[in-house]
């Protein structure tokens, strides 16, 4: 169980690191967070008000820094993120809970589509290595991967949303009519299509290249030669011999990418004004809503860490070496 223990310790260390970054950053920066908030709200600030705000934020000078840290830990781990500055007095937790389903739905489905499609294309490209189809797929994945994906989002929005008027320009569902049941579902799909397409296109290249390189690597192994010598059908060698063995690293990356479902669409959501976590974080950034930003950073890190941990856990069953 040494393996499992190590993984649990790492999970805790990584989570603590994310928490420490969140705790230390505001305290490292010049200026008083309490004054900053009150200045944002405008008007004259009385010293008593600043002091009260300091206590509310837990940054008053009387409380020792360690005590501040522990109360911060306790609050964050119980998902008590405080109150948003920009949506005052809505708790940050509620804002996140509202945004989370949109992001998970959008990015989750896109990740799955992209993985399946990219892996299938990568298998074909790797099998036909150095033939025109391979060069075409590889080069175009390299090019697509090079585009900043928020730019891809801008262009798709312009062409399909604005010029051709095929898709809506913002939001996740129709806001000017009240829809129920299947109609609502349809409107969600309709609104999610372009952001989803952006996400699929943006990550497709990586899946293709990973799978292609794995395939090329596996194809130079001896057992492929044996399979060929036995006179097996090309299709069988490709799917049952090569692809099966080349798939494992891709599956690992897929497991990891599940962790990025929450935080993987920041810029896409911003471009499409999609009411998910990324857009919420952007609003937090533009209005200097620090509790909101920090909470989102924590949630994103947490989901990546959990996915990571789950993957390690699954590996424990798959790979006997880890059991020791």
């Amino acid at each position: 169980m040494k393996y499992l223990r190590e993984k649990i310790v790492f999970f805790i260390i990584a989570l603590l690191s994310a928490l420490i970054i969140n705790f230390v950053l505001p305290r490292l920066m010049p200026g008083d967070p309490a004054e900053r908030i009150l200045l944002k709200m405008g008007g004259d600030i009385q010293p008593e008000a600043v002091e009260a705000m300091r206590i509310a934020l837990g940054v008053d000078k009387e409380t020792p820094i360690l005590k501040q840290f522990f109360s911060y830990l306790k609050n964050t781990l119980t998902f008590n993120f405080g109150i948003s500055y920009s949506y005052y007095p809505v708790p940050v937790k509620d804002l996140i809970l509202d945004a989370l389903p949109w992001t998970i739905g959008l990015v989750g489905i896109s990740t799955l589509i992209s993985f399946v499609l990219g892996t299938a294309l990568g298998i074909r490209a790797g099998w036909n290595r150095n033939k025109p189809i391979d060069s075409f797929v590889t080069i175009s994945s390299l090019i697509i991967r090079g585009f900043p994906y928020f730019w891809l989002a801008l262009i798709l929005l312009y062409v399909f949303g604005f010029l051709l008027n095929l898709f809506p320009l913002s939001n996740a569902y129709s806001t000017h009519e009240f829809l129920k049941g299947w109609k609502f579902f349809g409107s969600v799909i309709y609104h999610g299509f372009l952001p989803g397409l952006t996400l699929v296109l943006a990550s497709l290249g990586t899946w293709i290249l990973t799978m292609r390189n794995n395939m090329v690597s596996v194809l130079s192994e001896d057992f492929i030669l044996v399979a060929e010598a036995k006179g097996l059908k090309d299709k069988d060698i490709m799917n049952k011999y090569a692809a099966r063995n080349a798939l494992l690293p891709s599956v690992t990356s897929f497991g990891l990418s599940l962790g990025y479902i929450v935080g993987g669409a920041l810029l896409t959501e911003i471009v499409f004004s999609y009411p998910g976590i990324g857009y919420l974080m952007y609003k937090g950034v533009t209005s200097q809503d620090y509790p909101l930003m920090q909470a989102i950073f924590f949630i994103i890190s947490l989901s990546v860490l959990i996915a990571n941990f789950m993957l390690d856990f699954v590996y424990m069953f798959l790979d006997p070496r880890t059991r020791g």
């Binding site: 790492f10 260390i13 990584a14 690191s17 994310a18 970054i21 969140n22 950053l25 505001p26 490292l28 920066m29 010049p30 290595r129 150095n130 390299l142 090019i143 991967r145 090079g146 585009f147 900043p148 928020f150 730019w151 891809l152 801008l154 262009i155 929005l157 312009y158 604005f162 390189n213 090329v216 690597s217 194809l219 130079s220 990025y260 935080g263 920041l266 810029l267 911003i270 471009v271 974080m281 952007y282 950034v285 533009t286 200097q288 930003m293 920090q294 989102i296 950073f297 994103i300 890190s301 990546v304 860490l305 990571n308």
Partner: protein
């Protein structure tokens, strides 16, 4: 086969030098002063202004040309800094092993799993000073880990080779062994690392500047996109304004990717296929 490999490298290098030349000769190549009002704002592309004009009636082509300078400088500086951090941490962990390695490896792993862009955003939003330097530092500080991991692994395999052991026995100092014996033997790995770092830097820079974390009065490809987004360029049909910087970023990024790819193929015979 060698000819094929070189093709990728040649294309990559040509693109890179193309941008270097543009950056260097920007004042001669740009048709207008990038900060000067030369026509009606949001003008569509015409023969005089190939990419049109921005919200303040400035020539977009000239901005693109001048923007190459800062974008390229930030990309290369960040790439260099990031590679240096990866090298120092990776080689130290791999060479010394033991407790040092355990601590450094844990730090590397932590930075691997903490999501990059959100971390960059959180750090950048606390920095009051807006400009090129914070962007370089934030990207380098958050994105060095994957490189360090690869370099650590490579150093680890090299540590027990005979020529390193020989140097140890003759009493060479660790620092000399690391920098004069191990590092020169990893040059291909380091350079492929550098190209990946530059690619990360170029995209990271564009993303941060697009979000408004850059110096919005400076001209770079990222700030061009920031202004395009914030003045609704596309809704004004000013497509040149959005299209051009994106293509420039992607092309430069692709050149780094191609260079990395060609080094990978050179050093890993398996990728060459049969």
């Amino acid at each position: 086969m060698v000819r094929r490999l070189n093709k990728k490298a040649i294309v990559g290098l040509s693109i890179f030098f193309f941008f270097v030349v543009i950056a260097f000769f920007a004042p001669f190549l740009a048709p207008y002063d990038p900060n000067e009002f030369v026509g009606i704002p949001y003008s569509r592309p015409t023969s005089e202004h190939i990419l049109g004009l921005d919200r303040m009636g400035r020539d977009i082509l000239s901005q693109l040309i001048y923007g190459t300078r800062l974008s390229l400088i930030v990309g290369l500086t960040t790439g260099t800094l990031m590679t240096t951090i990866s090298l120092l941490i990776g080689m130290t962990a791999g060479y010394f092993g033991g407790l040092v390695d355990r601590i450094l490896s844990t730090i590397i792993d932590v930075f691997m799993v903490i999501p990059g862009l959100p971390l960059m955003i959180v750090i950048a939003s606390y920095i009051r000073f807006r400009g090129v330097v914070p962007i370089i530092l934030v990207i380098s500080f958050t994105s060095w880990a994957p490189g360090a991991r690869v370099i650590r692994a490579q150093t680890l395999t090299m540590r027990n080779r005979e020529f390193i052991l020989a140097s140890k026995i003759t009493g060479e100092k660790s620092r000399r062994i690391i920098f004069s014996e191990i590092m020169p033997n990893m040059l291909s790995l380091i350079s492929s690392n550098f190209f990946v770092a530059c690619l990360t830097a170029i995209v990271g820079e564009a993303s941060l500047e697009f979000l408004g974390f850059g110096d919005v009065s400076a001209i770079t490809w990222g700030t061009m996109l920031y202004w395009a987004q914030n003045s609704s360029a596309l809704l004004n049909n000013s497509w040149g304004w959005v299209l051009a910087p994106g293509i420039a970023i992607a092309t430069l990024g692709a050149s780094f990717a191609l260079l990395n790819f060609s080094i990978d193929e050179l050093t890993n015979p398996k990728l060459r296929g049969v």
